[in-house]
Assembly symmetry: D3
Homo-oligomer: 336 residues x 6
Amino acid sequence: MKNILTFGEILVRLSSNQGKRLSEANTLHVNYGGAEANVAVSLAQYGYRTSIFSRIPDHEISKGILHYLKGYDVNTNLIQLKGTRIGTYYLEVGAGNRSSKVIYDRAHTSITELTPEDLDYETIFKDQELLHVTGITPALSDNLVQVTECLFKEAKARGILISFDFNYRAKLWSKETAGQVFKRLLSYVDICSCAELDFIHLLGYEQESERLSYPERLTTYYKKLSKEYDNIAVLFSTKRENLSASTNQLTGYFYTKGQLYESPLFSIDHIIDRVGGGDAFVSGVLHGYLSNWNEQNIIDFATAASVLKHTILGDANIVTEEEVNNMLNNGSQINR
Amino acid sequence: MKNILTFGEILVRLSSNQGKRLSEANTLHVNYGGAEANVAVSLAQYGYRTSIFSRIPDHEISKGILHYLKGYDVNTNLIQLKGTRIGTYYLEVGAGNRSSKVIYDRAHTSITELTPEDLDYETIFKDQELLHVTGITPALSDNLVQVTECLFKEAKARGILISFDFNYRAKLWSKETAGQVFKRLLSYVDICSCAELDFIHLLGYEQESERLSYPERLTTYYKKLSKEYDNIAVLFSTKRENLSASTNQLTGYFYTKGQLYESPLFSIDHIIDRVGGGDAFVSGVLHGYLSNWNEQNIIDFATAASVLKHTILGDANIVTEEEVNNMLNNGSQINR
Amino acid sequence: MKNILTFGEILVRLSSNQGKRLSEANTLHVNYGGAEANVAVSLAQYGYRTSIFSRIPDHEISKGILHYLKGYDVNTNLIQLKGTRIGTYYLEVGAGNRSSKVIYDRAHTSITELTPEDLDYETIFKDQELLHVTGITPALSDNLVQVTECLFKEAKARGILISFDFNYRAKLWSKETAGQVFKRLLSYVDICSCAELDFIHLLGYEQESERLSYPERLTTYYKKLSKEYDNIAVLFSTKRENLSASTNQLTGYFYTKGQLYESPLFSIDHIIDRVGGGDAFVSGVLHGYLSNWNEQNIIDFATAASVLKHTILGDANIVTEEEVNNMLNNGSQINR
Amino acid sequence: MKNILTFGEILVRLSSNQGKRLSEANTLHVNYGGAEANVAVSLAQYGYRTSIFSRIPDHEISKGILHYLKGYDVNTNLIQLKGTRIGTYYLEVGAGNRSSKVIYDRAHTSITELTPEDLDYETIFKDQELLHVTGITPALSDNLVQVTECLFKEAKARGILISFDFNYRAKLWSKETAGQVFKRLLSYVDICSCAELDFIHLLGYEQESERLSYPERLTTYYKKLSKEYDNIAVLFSTKRENLSASTNQLTGYFYTKGQLYESPLFSIDHIIDRVGGGDAFVSGVLHGYLSNWNEQNIIDFATAASVLKHTILGDANIVTEEEVNNMLNNGSQINR
Amino acid sequence: MKNILTFGEILVRLSSNQGKRLSEANTLHVNYGGAEANVAVSLAQYGYRTSIFSRIPDHEISKGILHYLKGYDVNTNLIQLKGTRIGTYYLEVGAGNRSSKVIYDRAHTSITELTPEDLDYETIFKDQELLHVTGITPALSDNLVQVTECLFKEAKARGILISFDFNYRAKLWSKETAGQVFKRLLSYVDICSCAELDFIHLLGYEQESERLSYPERLTTYYKKLSKEYDNIAVLFSTKRENLSASTNQLTGYFYTKGQLYESPLFSIDHIIDRVGGGDAFVSGVLHGYLSNWNEQNIIDFATAASVLKHTILGDANIVTEEEVNNMLNNGSQINR
Amino acid sequence: MKNILTFGEILVRLSSNQGKRLSEANTLHVNYGGAEANVAVSLAQYGYRTSIFSRIPDHEISKGILHYLKGYDVNTNLIQLKGTRIGTYYLEVGAGNRSSKVIYDRAHTSITELTPEDLDYETIFKDQELLHVTGITPALSDNLVQVTECLFKEAKARGILISFDFNYRAKLWSKETAGQVFKRLLSYVDICSCAELDFIHLLGYEQESERLSYPERLTTYYKKLSKEYDNIAVLFSTKRENLSASTNQLTGYFYTKGQLYESPLFSIDHIIDRVGGGDAFVSGVLHGYLSNWNEQNIIDFATAASVLKHTILGDANIVTEEEVNNMLNNGSQINR
């Protein structure tokens, strides 16, 4: 078993019932999310000792977050209770031909005020073996760009593996700024989640010819990046086909040592909640990678985990390894 | 921006949860509907100043109707608070292979007692540019046949456009009576929604050969009707394929000046609520027509609007023009 | 065990959550009620074979009524499925200083169309030993005045006991008409529920001096009525003190053979639903009377039964004899 | 109309909302089920006088069961109120790629303590014409194996038809024990529901070659069994294709006098609740068979009934014959 | 009828079910509030043409606010859609011995960024006759102190009545700052709500001797203030006795021209929601005052209105004048 | 900070909505309880490191228990996942004059199968300083009588404080057996909760004269017991007056070294949930005692904690020390 640290904002999510517009909702469901919290929860279900380094205000709503994380076996000792605002987002759950809609309310939150001076490396990194952060964290404030870099540097120095998920959010910052920051961060990264659009819009790569298949194009991008940053050991991402808000198709890709591995094509019908599907995928990859599974197993498991997430209301993938494997063996792949 | 008047009954709708039979429901959802109210609400979301001329009793349930209409920007000044019964309908929401079921409770309602004597044309038609009524209104009582005719006559005299949607309901009156009334009303109509079965069963047209495609047959009917009533400028309707109560396919048709325009074929999966889909379609056509869009844009937009309605619980299409266009551009058409 | 027949309308009740105005309710609770149905259900819980003679339309909502009545052991064989409207009422549940509010929607309902021609006495009265009707039934239509009289006459002729509860409702008819009808009906009645205001406003009695206590005044009224109608064997009623919509006090009175019996004063706090409290009281009296309990036991039990009803959401008093007695023995009487 | 008796455990079912794991559910829906109760309820909706012979404790939860069964016209006079435990099961409702999950809590329940000494045949079998039991009943305890055999023997002696549904549940007993018991029971059976896996795993038949189509293989099994037990007049089963927890395909098979009849292939999308689908099918077959319909009608109706069950939350198929036929005529068969 | 303008923040309120701590809530009720919005809504129910000047972001959540205000007849034309944050507060609804708890999340909201430059007096004050603001508005930001002063000055200049409610909130600013600002604002005020603690803690008055009764002490404070600011025509406040979170007692006081008027003592049991009770009181006073009622009527009506508010879930007092008067006449005063 | 161990069954609680009988409930609230779990949760909120030694089956429902306990900071490492049944109880929540009703379903549960052989004392008692058990645990099975004695003996030997709460439940065993077991257990106990009826019915004490006040009688009983078992350092209990299911009065008593300390009399109105009130009281006493508070503080705090519990839905007292003290200082004591 391994100790895993994530770093990022923990959010309160308020979502309407399916079929109700946010503007007419008279009750909202409360869940807790945030990309890094989702990964911490998912990995805890696979048996890891996960912690999240974060900051939230010291009040009743934060208590709900702590109950939730502890209840799902995430260590909360590194969460600082400080500041005044908790990150919040409103989710209008889509259905059929109406997409889901997200409204962020995460300006001026507690975590955005975190500075390098607040970092007690000894406490933060004690016993950790892997640090996972997504591109959302540095997007939240200039402070957090610095803090993320400091943490990456220090983790590297301590021989801790670094996992990074691009997770670019246009609502939070521009492509230019994101690209610059990501390029600096990439030099520390061992394990990396990014896809074609990230290469083109954030890293400035030229789009490969559309005559190439998607896997062929992806292989090219991954190869180039691996050459540029030889610290990156593995790269991965999913490709999603939106037939409607309720019906999707999903394929996962995992690249290492010059070779791309592709999962089966999964059909996802009757989607309950696709938020957190990406975090479930990353968690699956991390679990397979840290367990030294073979590459095909890793990508099959991770994609199946992501598929399963779509059936659960809430951000986190509350499933066990056994449940993912059951789905993988009895599930819904489409022949190609 | 244009001022639009609708005339019809405003209904309280009581619906069960999906998966529950009405006979075992212990809670019911309250929504407000009625074909003309739905059109008024939808057009208000597109930016029109809409009013509804109607009558409901003066009690707490009616207050809920007024709150609802005002909240969605429909002017309620022409709603008379009088009489004793409010129109009600119970909706058992279908799913999969079980169709939705409607039970009307709209006999002896306030609006059915409205007579031509109650019509203060100056007030009713002040600043109006279009009057929309559906075939449900005259179906409710003999009084309302008269009132509808009076309003059509007076509107015509004042140069107000008249929009009429057949909306034949077998639960309310016979095909014979409906056909007779509709024929009289048609001589005032500028904008008209009706489909193949209306021609055959209400207007007494002979069914065109099934060797003709549906668009070909529809074109024939529309042509004939346009010749008969040269006041009718545009005709339109949708064709729905019921794969199940949860999965439909929809195509829209718009006819003007001898030519039929066809929308893409939309696949509608995971239907939340198909009630009001027709009213959403009519509202879309009216918006496009009043905005002088080209014909293809009108029918594409209107059909997309109707599709979007299926994702929202309640009778009315609470969406903006921008949201319809987003769906149209990113949506779920099926290649033919 | 005895066979009991009631006659009256069965209603669908739609009530808002406590704290919500009807005009803003987006869900309503469905219950079934009607004074005579409530008595039938309560007596069935005490072990009687009860039936209700009534008429409702033949549709899904009526099915819910049948499921409910059968589930609580009321025989539904005498319910005719005919006509088009089901009686409905909306209940805004009060709380604290805001009273409950009722909106009736029971004009033109199926039962109002019932005529003496529809009465098949053999079937209706087969094996019955007591007929219970309230003043609401004849209030619903002229037809029902006639039907009630016919039933009373025929029941009398067959030696069936007749129980009548005044239950005057100002929303349904005038005091004058009610008084005239009630006077005619009283000549058949054996068991009668009425209180001071009924004597003054409906029967035209002069108000007794306020220097007399309430029990003294009531004794006087009851004596007079007993003299006038010597067929009436017992008379009874409750006196309610409304401290708020949530807190009441209740005393029961039972009169027979010249003597008035008074229950303890019950304090009722935290009222969940007071609708049907009177029907629960009548049911308690009928049970005690038919069981030949002594007078004090009858009135104590009946009042306790009514008190218990206030703790249950819905019109009917879903409690057993044992539960009423438990409350009576451990309950909440106030010393005077 | 015919009198039908079923024998089996009546269960309380506690199910989570779709999208919620049982481990995070804070409310659970209460329904009542049990294979034999489901058949009794479904047949009562088709107009039969059904009873269930069972045992449950004498407390408030059992009262709910009695209200439910009576409300849906099932006679409860043969239900003994005795013992201490009520059978319970928790249902995690699946969706999309996550299957439903059932947790039984039915050890030591009241019915398991029933012994042959408790059987008063005169009362139990009075006026009955058919006895239906499933393989779940003898699976619950050794006592119940005996009781089932006694009832079968006695029913046979009285000329009552015996219907048996294998319904093998691995959570309750081993294949070996089940097989032995079923073989003994089969010698009494007239009407029997079992499918390919039952033949192979319980009756020890060899699997027919996969080169044969499923209907061909099934015909072979059915023929053999009919030869072995010439008391069995009809055999039937369904074949289900699980595309996901929300989308299935279903075909029904009915065998009699050497010939197999096959229903259309039904597509079932948007599944609300598939529990009880098998009981709905059996009920449909029994109805058709007892009504002397032709074989194709029987299997079409029964399969359509089962399909319709998937749209209703709860174990029982609360639909009328008319509703099944409507679905059959307008429904969702797939061309093959 | 009069035109009334209020100025202040409009809040989204998220509240837990009674009996649930916020930290364990999985659903929250959505209501909309804010002291000035509450007054605007209440006065609109009394028949005034009310507007609110405010600023909220341009997104789906704000749409809900607009639907709500329009639905209850508040003009929203002066609400600017700008900025990024909407004011939010979480309410843990108390019960019995546990008080309600409020968590504000209203830093950096749209309205706090409003500056005097944003004020278009012509538009804002067009046709207005009274401006109502509470001490919460200037508490939200330094900008809003300035804006409030500018509006008061300009209103004064235009002969518009100014109503001010101290509404001091310790969670928003210190007593010192509030006191300084309030003193400046008071010189414009005509109608003023403040109570004993405001005099002592904000205005620096010495506490009057406790040997004086509360009305005597209040009279002294009011007299002094009236002397200091002779522009203030009327002063008023309530005195609340908290017997528990569910049971309170309330008295209202109204002072003008040297004399104090006292309402009956109201007992408030079974409190549903006491938030907004003060705003309901102020609205009642404003209505009485603008209607030129006599002083005793004003204070009785206003206090009764406040009492009624406690029975309604949500911030605003959704009641008519008639309903308040009914309560006043049939209600729950306690004899002293 | 101290380490505290409790030992007992953890239960799933299923409760109806207030106003709903269990027999008509269609949804049930899920909470988790059990006297010892409640104490563990409450003490964890006061800052203790608490653990519970227990056994539950290894399935999804147990997962919910683990999430809950971990979320509220109770260590679950000593919970064995074994056996087949989870203890369950149904709660019909009372209101006003209708008491709450509990139906246990806890026969044959996992914990009842625990034997002395399963006890690994080293693991169980590692670092523990106090062991708390109630009389419910030995009531569940003969095994558990033995296990409790073994644990008490071993704890004593290790110098661990032993806290015992009589908690006699007539539904689980007879007074005689309970009395015998309790007498044996008492010889190990340091801290003990028991009240007058326990002395009379379980320990066989003679009832003290009713001319003595309750505190006087209690002092006598406590003195006698302290003489008999000089190991008992402190004794305590509450006295509850049931005015109704919604309104109670509560006084706490704490006895040590020959002297009885009495809390104020607390009025409890608007009771949400009184289950767990006793466990909240014991937790309060344990906290005060372990913190070396003075006796009056201990009993005031503990009683206030119990009062606060009545305002929270669910078994456990989810409040902090600060919240109890706030209530104590601002709360609802009644003058005597």
